[in-house]
Amino acid sequence: MKRAERHRAPATTLVALFAVLPIVYLALLSVTRTGAPPRVLPAEWRLDAWRFLLSGRGEMLRSLWVSLALSAAVALSSAPLGFVAARYVAFHRHRRLLLFFAYMPFVLSPVILGTCMLFFYIRAGLSGSLAGVFLAQTVFTFGFSIVFFLSFWNREKLDLEDLVATLGGTRPQFYRLVLLPISRDALRTGMFQIFLLSWFQYGLTILIGEGGVRTLPVLVYAHVAEANPLFAAAAGMLLVLPPLALLAMTRRPPLGSL
């Protein structure tokens, strides 16, 4: 592996640049105005977007709250539900068939599945509403949630349940005193990953929300469409900062494997 050693220094630099540059570029775009071509360096510093955000004017702050509330609600509902359903799938004799159904909403393109289900949302009076987007995102993230928690439910957990029963423990006691403490980490990680799936979601939100539910991704796209890179970049930074902060705090991967 001497050859690999030789390539290590440039590869390290490449990876470091590759990792950091997009965020630096986004941050720069949010505080600068690009001059006329072929000027490379920014023409001037502009803090309009951030001032707007801090003053509470415009819709950036509102979008931030909508995104936070929506993603938190999706994570808080989808993770526990997926946790419970994953247990059912994990020990079922037709596990592969159930897994196929669990994967279905997760692997089908959210917008294509959303298009197919749109009629039901319209009939239920949920299209164009935050509740509708919440429901659609919960369906979409639920599949991921099951797949995520599947590996948690193994033979060891069943043995623990049997052990508690043998020692005279009741089912609620097993849940409260055994299952909850040992599943806390998995639940926390799963919840965070589901939060991010919802936090990043654009297609399904714009489709079911009919443009009325202005989450941060919707706002980024709206600013791009109106050729306002300054505000698009600032909204983009708001999208990137929470997962970045969590990464800095936990040093854990912010996204689950596919």
């Binding site: 359903a85 247990r87 059912y88 020990f91 393109s109 069943l158 297609g203 990137v240 970045l244 991967p253």
Partner: protein, 287 residues
Amino acid sequence: MSSTAKARGGRVGLAVFLAIAVFPASGGLLYALLYSLGGVGLLSRGWTLQAWIRVLTGSEFWRSLLFSSTVAAEVVLISVALGLSLALSLGERLQRTLGTLLHVPLTVPNVVAAFLTFQLLAGAGLMSRVAVRVGAIPDTARFPSLVQEPWGIGIVLAHVLLATPFLVLLFAALARSERVSAFVELASTLGANHTQTLRRVVLPLLLRQALPSLVLLFIAILGSYDIPLLLGVQSPQMLSVLVVRKNGIYDLAQKPEAYSVAILYSVFTLLLLLRVIPLQGRRREAS
């Protein structure tokens, strides 16, 4: 196990599973199928195969499928090549700060990646300005079109930007769990040179283990929407963009076609999924 499972899994798990995973998705697909066959819908005039015939005999769907599949395959191939090279050349450094640093691009959502790619590669974007400055082209108008062009170059680049860090981390983790370095040492002791070790030991080991994730990555890109919406063109369009456009335009006659394309896409994707699940099961059992 089945009787135990029934007793323990409980009705709650089943009810939740059916209510959230099975019924909405299956119901949506069934509705789309019925609409595409004229069985339901505002303009329904009875059962007909017209929408299906139009989709299957026209060129739009096939071009879109070919375009989407090509983009997805290109992204997977390029990202795998980059991911493998970086994971193998960086080795244990990925377990330290560099590994944490590599998680940073995973915090970038698709819509932001599309925006950044546009700012970077558009006609008046950063790359064209740099190209003028270094004298590669006389003015930005001469910069080759890399976004919103029919080959999907910008779409591929944006996806590669997002997929590569994930694959570097995946291959590095697999190299550790599969004890690749021990096998490399063994192969070298038995007289294999670097190329032979790479071709016959390292790549088969890593790629076989990564296959389910790579197929899922292919599926995810095949159905991607945010990035092609900003960086793509009107024709050919990625499948998701095509379905949404056909479903959303004012001509209601196009709706059955949108649903036909959605069903075709879903069948294609679910067939791929049927291949992935046994592979994942085998991987889980092996680990």
